[in-house]
Symmetry: C2
Subunit: 101 residues, 2 copies
C-alpha cells in the first residue's frame, strides 16, 4: 500500500507546526536539510527506540514535511522543501536557523 | 501568586512551535498581532468552552508566546513579539503570514 502524503493543497500550517514541535523531529529535519540526498530512517543519529523513530517519521510525513519512499525494505526520507516554502514562505528557514532548540 | 513566564533565555523553539500548532491558538496569536493593545481572554471570538480557552492561553504563556497580566479579575494578554523575534527571527512573521491555517 502506498504511503499517505498530503498534496501541496492539503498542507496545513497547524499540522506542520505540530510536526516540527518536537526536538527529535527538529533534529531529523535539520539533518535532512543539511544533506538533501534521501536517507534511510536508521541513518539518523537519534538516541531513541526504533518504534519511536518510526513514529516521528510518520508524523513528519503525514504533515507533509517529508517524503518517504519505500525502496526494498528501507524507507528513504527527504524534506519537501519546495512545497513547504511555497505554502509557508520563510517558515522552514526560520525554524532551521536557530541553534537553540 | 505570579503567573509563570519563561525568560527570553528560556524560550525553546520546540515549545513555541507546539504552542502555535493549534488552529485556535494560531487565531489568538493572529488577533493579538493585529491589535497590540492588551486584551482580555473573553474578548476573543472563539467558539470554545471557557476552560478550553483558559488552557490555550496558558499553553501560549508557558511557551513564552504571550504575556498575561492580572488586572482585577481579568487576565490581559499581549504578544511577546520582540522577544520572539529576537530568539527566532522570522518565525512569527512566517506563521502569521499565510491565510491558510
Amino acid at each position: 500500500m502506498a504511503l499517505y502524503h498530503p498534496t501541496p493543497e492539503d498542507l496545513e500550517l497547524a499540522a506542520v507546526l505540530h510536526a516540527l514541535s518536537d526536538p527529535q523531529r527538529l533534529r531529523i529535519v535539520r539533518e535532512l536539510s543539511a544533506d538533501p540526498a534521501p536517507r534511510a530512517c536508521g541513518s539518523f543519529d537519534l538516541e531513541i527506540a526504533k518504534s519511536t523513530c518510526t513514529h516521528h517519521f510518520r508524523v513528519l510525513r503525514e504533515a507533509g514535511v517529508i517524503e518517504q519512499q519505500e525502496v526494498g525494505t528501507s524507507r528513504l526520507n527527504k524534506l519537501r522543501r519546495e512545497e513547504l516554502d511555497e505554502s509557508f514562505p520563510g517558515l522552514l528557514e526560520a525554524v532551521l536557523a536557530p541553534a537553540r532548540v
